[in-house]
């Protein structure tokens, strides 16, 4: 099973509407979960992470994500989308132990398009 899945390749939302970018994970033990954003022709930028503590994590640019252990999800949300939020969003998770030599497994990315 994939360690992390982003079920939507593309999400379209109108400016001013709330947005959600979905992420589910599959790891044993405590998951460490991250969201990164990639703007065109740029490297990835860190948005937020969940390590422990409050299930609702607030990050950069007004984004937040909720860790839901029972649903094994870590969806990224924003109450009011901006055109400038249009980018590629990656969810990442610490993989299960002994499952591969990387500290982070990235999802395939979700392209968010905010329409004015």
């Amino acid at each position: 099973a994939q360690s992390v899945a982003q079920p939507e390749d593309q999400v379209n939302v109108a400016e001013g509407n709330p947005l959600t970018v979905k992420c589910t994970y599959s790891v044993s033990g405590n998951p460490y979960l991250f969201w990164y954003v990639q703007y065109p022709n740029r490297g990835l930028q860190f948005l937020l992470k969940y390590i422990t503590g409050d299930n609702l994590v607030k990050g950069s640019y007004g984004f937040e994500a909720e860790f839901n252990k029972s649903q094994t999800s870590f969806h990224l949300k924003k109450p009011s989308a901006l055109v400038s939020d249009s980018a590629l969003y990656f969810c990442a998770v610490r993989p299960p132990r002994n499952s591969g030599n990387t500290p982070l497994v990235f999802g395939k990315g979700t392209r968010l398009s905010v329409i004015a």
Partner: protein
């Protein structure tokens, strides 16, 4: 504040040639990473380094060589480039030895085309 830089930003080469991609960070971060980004695969780790002279293989190390003689530099070499190595390559760094919980900071990327 330069942060993390990569050079060149774009490179076209031919099959069989040796290519070196450079990565430099000004933060004195302990960890450095090389990823490749391919459509449908997200980012995959090639190699990483915990400190100078310490390197480890990632998920997809075959065909690549790294070195880290200085903390701030982490070059990636394709010894004999193949078309399957056409990709966008990202270097990243993280501050401490909390490998699994630290934020990674990414460079702008190098787009490599192998003809």
């Amino acid at each position: 504040d330069a942060g993390i830089t990569q050079s060149p930003r774009y490179k076209i080469t031919e099959t069989g040639r040796q290519v070196t991609l450079m990565c430099h960070q000004t933060w004195s971060h302990s960890y450095m990473f090389w990823y490749r980004q391919d459509l449908g695969h997200g980012l995959r780790l090639i190699y990483y380094s915990a400190a100078a002279d310490i390197t480890d293989k990632g998920e997809v190390p075959d065909g690549y060589v790294v070195s880290r003689s200085k903390t701030e530099n982490f070059p990636l070499t394709l010894e004999s480039a193949t078309r399957s190595q056409t990709s966008v390559y990202f270097c990243a760094s993280s501050e401490s030895n909390r490998l699994y919980t630290d934020t990674q900071y990414f460079g702008p990327g190098t787009r490599l085309t192998v003809l």
